[in-house]
Symmetry: D2
Subunit: 462 residues, 4 copies
């Protein structure tokens, strides 16, 4: 492959960028990057400056001749790019605060990736990813799009299936975390184990085998509730039922807690809500601190505090994936890619999160085979929710939104769910052009978020 | 076909039996029954006497030479039967009271067919239907089994798919009601419309066409919330969102209210619970009155009060189905039968509730084709719930029970769900031999229903 | 439905038209036709005059006030049509002679519906049906298209799936013949039997049940080789292996002989070829005689000689189908329509030939369920052949043609197959505009049919 | 994994055994074998002695302390085996001569793996593999079965799907050959290319990508007819149509010639037949020479002449596969294993030949995704042929045999096919216990092979 790679990172002002830089720095010998373009929008200009300058310091300290460009001009950046990473958050963390607090203000889990909040994140993000792909088609038609903007599965499905951009891989850090942490619970290390994942983003299961080919899934199930059992720390660690898991025979991901132990999770989230410590608010605080650190001209390496941010390993996975493509590694990773029959109970052309080989021609999923009814049913309803959400995001149709809400297991169907829905529309008005008329009529009817925190954000124009 | 049909009705002491008798009486000219055997168990002996004698009076008044036999000996009855109907309720209405009240005592919908209650109804019924099929294999190997014991879909699936008895059709009155009532909402009659149903028991959708082949589904959707819109009266009439339904393009059944407007339904059920007017309790009252009436030696025709019972049209549908088989009618009915590809998003060999032609060789479903994601996802998760429930009922495995509970959309997963589960086990101990050890250990651990009404029933040995 | 139906018959100069007229005459009381437009092209003008005038005499003799219009202006005819029947043959019987003789001149079965000949019939017909549908979209957007131009399945698939015209039903007389003839072989009549068909056009199987629901398929298999066993007379009656059929458990159609007993069929066809009695040539002779008869101004009813023509019952089936739609009959017929899961081993959106209910909204197939490997494999390869053929016909791509030829079980792959292919292209040049460049280059390379009969036809400009 | 591996090779007297020994010798450092048991039957005793002693010399010359045991007692050998390879040929090469000559004596391709001959090879082999698996269940329940007895796909399907022995992988040398030879045709080497295969044994396609992820399949298609284009040399190199292959977009395997250019292949085979140089006869001659060489006590390494044998690379692939399992290599190989959705147009539980990762837990296929109609149709009919063949082999049912023959594209259906079938039964009587009654009646009816060579073999009791 050509020397002198050009990488473009949309949402370059993200607090994750230093991890991304670190990932590229430690792989420089195998991944000879020439230019990195950090792109952001007007609203993110200040953060872009801070993090961008920090990035420049990191590369300088590393001693590699990589140019780091900061720009608000996405088209300029995309020109002739080789790899484009997307790590942007439409509406910044303020939007996530609304995604989480509005549902909780009605006693409903918001869940910023697969719940009501996650659906609105999709509604906000999909119009933007469409613009990005349109630009890429014109400016860098051979580039790979490595997405780690959430909801990663739905964004990847939009890019590949709806927009027809096949050179796209979606990433998530959840599988990375379990592969890194879980083995210690049974006294081994990940290099001695073989991991197989299947499902969709934030809703997948895995099976694990040791060096002799013996399945150790049941042993790992025994330890899933251990203090450091491999599920992401940003999720409250409600205990899984071992009786249930032993019968299913597969390890769930951390996000399954919202479904398998919904009420415990809701209780915990309500406490957070009341203490103004929803995940979004906590992350906001962490981020503010991170940006303060990033400003420090002496800081030249990724600070350990970033790990608290929740998205740890995400950016490293992106670097790993880029390197696997560039170097044609045939490396096993867990990614969002086309199903192609790997999970036979889902459509062939849908996007799944699955163990796949990553090489120059992209991701090749390993066939998982039939799922048992319990996993099959859950997975099928969640995939249908994703399809309805994407359809609604693209069409701007209210009935389609209702379908998506109605089928989402985290939405408690009823009058309150409709209130939550309407308040979310009003709260996110700025980022939902496809729903402009609907929102106008909701506002005319007096719909307005009841949560004080959200009201304040809106009053501040956020 | 042979003259002189022998019909056996298991659960003959049911309050529905008079409707069944009426159905046979009005079809006598086309369905020449010779013997009717009403079978019940020791606990139902008194009711069997009452309703059996009433049945005899009905036939006598009708003037047809049909022998009505009352027996507690099922094997004697089954010998050489042509048609066996199953309309029994293991544990009588007392069991249904427990099914409904125990979940509600934790603020959870019990729903005696597809909710936690329905799962326990399956757990109680499946061991009995297995015995019946074993007897039939020996005593009447050519007989048709017409099931209208709930949960009708799961029982039919057990009979056909698990026990391998192919000559079985499952019935439900829900489609019958909409076909009878709905047309008036758009000023027409059912004979002028063509109904197409697909889904599973108590979870199906339909589309309707007029005499010109024009689809009138959207017109009917407009009227679904009308006072007499065609959904069963025994379900609280929470309003459907027309915006949602118009987008789906299909008419839901009444039971969809528990899913599409879960919170409104729960609110209403909690009121009923607090007033001791759960559906089970109301039905118990209606039934007691009915049996008082049935005792009246002057009563010779089905009293109109029976319609309040909730199961109206059920028995008539059974008679219609039997006649369609006997007379090889190729008549369109909505029944539970093997999918065979009719709903492609479900396995071929699973049981679905669907428009089918009924003739001498059984039910032949009409192909429905692909479902859109919203219906597909809901249907697939509900079917998986049925499969898990049947598996649990047959295996007596606790992990399998947890799978079934966990995937059921009406079960609110969490600690309370487990309490509900355990209390239901203890409350139904008498009828759950396959779970004997589990229940023993639960009792040893002090599990006992907290609801006073249930405690009283248990104290009375019910 | 409206009174005063307008029926348009494309290919109105066909020798079948009198059967179509007879079918409409005998159904006049239920199907109140006002106008019949017989449409043909310049080359068929003389036949149109003859048969059109005969049609007028038939209606006059019947005493019904139906206007019969003869025209070469298809667009004038289509305006506001209610039903359009297509029974045209591009290139007349001369084309069929080429379809059959060219393959046989290389010792290969031509088979004018599913063999090399049938593929060329599809290549010639598909461009024309596309024009017809384009006209209908503009001139009669609510009309039903009842196709009985062969290859009926591929034409129907093109109309419904490729051109998106959903109001289309394809017909074939093969199932009609077996339903009419077969029952006598076991001493019963068709009204006492229940027929279930599944497969594709000229490649389907059926199962049969008696009035008691007992399957009589095996009994019918015993008699399939009887003198009048229900398979079309225009196919040489090579004997089926009863051992094979008993194991398959399904009754094949007459056209299965070309596959199950290929060599016997080829031997017989070679004899015909050498005697200049290929089916096409025989039919040509029969037709010439028929048209002589039709000229007779005294002839006012369909002459019995028409039955020899081979297509008997085709037109009657079309009338029956139109009446079933118009009168919303919910009548069981065997038609070509969308699969919708009825045959699960084929795609949902493909066209199958299957037992279906015909009513005002069209055809609703009955679910057949899984096929055993023997039928499944045959059916899947034949359906793939159809798909490749349609793709080739629409794209005009030579590689696509090779795919279609290569996968066709009646084509003997090798150099001779390519010669047959090339000669067919040259022989049909006039009717294959989509392959114009290819044919030009073949001719430049000196390709020319070697069969004398075909050469004569070409010399005559036919 | 444990040290001191025990390998058992059923059919140890095979001429391939030296390649197997060589494969183990060169991998000794990674695959520490302790014992090799070469097992054969009484009829193969002499060959076993020759090749076994040669094997001992090979190991001695290599200087590794591996015990080589020769035995006719399979059960003794299997005790505590770690890996069992099956490379036996029921009926020796005499049987293959019959498989090829009997069909050719009627002008029909015999093809010893997928044609009429291959079906009889399956009929002979399946009863034996069943006995082997029965023994393994008792004597070495943890062993892996590495099968390279043909028809490799059908034997693997029998072992995994029918006998339920999951630890089985089937091998074939055809993909190995193309990976080794093909790259040179476009001036590159296999380590620079990424190969993806999908299909079934001797009927698969592949796509190839270069180091930049660019597909080079079309470039390779251009060279498929090159002198050393990567298809097995034991198959006559009839030329593929590049127009066809370019449209399919996939590279066929060498065996596709029997289907895509059937007539050329048949012509060539008839020449071989007439010259007594059928593949079986040539191989017999090569083998005889090989065994002469093997007798030479000075010979201590695999002689280059073995490569002419046709099965080259087979044994090496077996060693590679065993090492990949033992060392948990996650190595990409093309193997016969469970589909699990990898090829969505085939059943999930069927056996396919596909690119898979081989590691300690076995083979994990890479998902291929949907096939286009041309490949899909061919593959589905061939898979159905395999299923029918296995069913016939296990059941011994004549109707099932007819189904298998009837659906096989290499069998020319008709009277001659039945004669071929019957002669094959009689010729192989000794090895077809499941068809004993059938064969008895055929012989009683005077059925006897007409080919002189076959008659001679039978006269000699072979």
């Amino acid at each position: 492959m050509k020397k002198g790679i050009k990488v473009v990172s949309i949402g370059g002002g993200s607090s994750y960028t230093p991890e991304l830089m670190e990932g590229f720095i430690k792989r420089y010998s195998e991944l000879p990057i020439k230019e990195i373009w950090l792109v952001d929008i007007e609203d993110g200009k200040e953060k872009l400056e801070i993090v961008g300058n920090f990035a420049k310091r990191m590369w300088k300290a590393a001693g590699y001749p990589v140019e780091v460009h900061l720009t608000l001009n996405r088209r300029e950046a995309l020109k002739d790019a080789d790899f484009v990473t997307t790590q942007f958050r439409v509406g910044l963390l303020y939007a996530r605060i609304k995604d989480e607090r509005i549902p909780l203000s009605y006693g409903m889990i918001g869940q910023e990736t697969n719940g009501a909040g996650g659906m609105f994140k999709a509604f906000r993000t999909i119009p933007v990813i469409k613009q990005i792909v349109d630009d890429m088609r014109e400016l860098c038609p051979e580039a790979w799009l490595i997405n780690f903007t959430n909801p990663s599965g739905m964004i990847t499905e939009t890019v590949i299936r709806k927009l027809g951009w096949k050179k796209c891989i979606g990433l998530c850090n959840v599988p990375v975390i379990s592969i890194k942490k879980e083995p210690a619970t049974i006294g081994t290390t990940s290099d001695k184990l073989h991991y197989r994942y299947a499902g969709i983003n934030h809703f997948h299961w895995h099976r694990v085998f040791d060096e002799n080919g013996t399945e150790v899934t049941q042993k790992l199930i025994e330890h899933i509730n251990d203090a450091d059992g491999g599920t992401p720390k940003n999720i409250y660690q409600a205990k899984f039922s071992l009786d249930l898991l032993k019968t299913t025979g597969v390890l769930p991901c951390g996000y399954h807690r919202y479904y398998y132990m919904k009420n415990e999770m809701l209780g915990h989230l309500m406490d957070d809500f009341n203490r103004h410590e929803t995940r979004a608010e906590s992350v906001k605080e962490v981020e503010d601190k991170l940006f303060e650190m990033y400003k420090n001209p002496e800081l030249k390496t990724k600070p350990p505090e970033l790990e608290k941010r929740g998205g740890t390993y995400y950016s490293d996975a992106a670097c790993e994936c880029i390197s696997a493509i560039y170097n044609n590694k045939r490396q096993m990773m867990v990614v969002n890619t086309e199903n192609n029959g790997a999970i036979p109970c889902l459509p062939n052309d849908t996007i799944v999160e699955i163990s796949a080989l990553i090489s120059a021609q992209g991701a090749e999923p390993l066939a998982w085979g039939e799922m048992k009814p319990h996993e099959r049913g859950w997975l099928q309803v969640m995939k249908a929710m994703e399809e309805c959400t994407i359809e609604a995001a693209l069409s701007g149709d209210y009935g389609a939104v209702l379908e998506a809400f109605n089928i989402n297991p985290l939405v408690e169907n009823g009058d309150d769910a409709i209130k939550v829905l309407h308040e979310l529309f009003v709260a996110h008005e700025k980022y939902l052009p496809q729903f402009a008329d609907l929102i106008k009529s909701l506002k005319a009817a007096g719909v307005y978020p009841k949560d004080e925190t959200v009201r304040e954000l809106l009053a501040q124009g956020k």
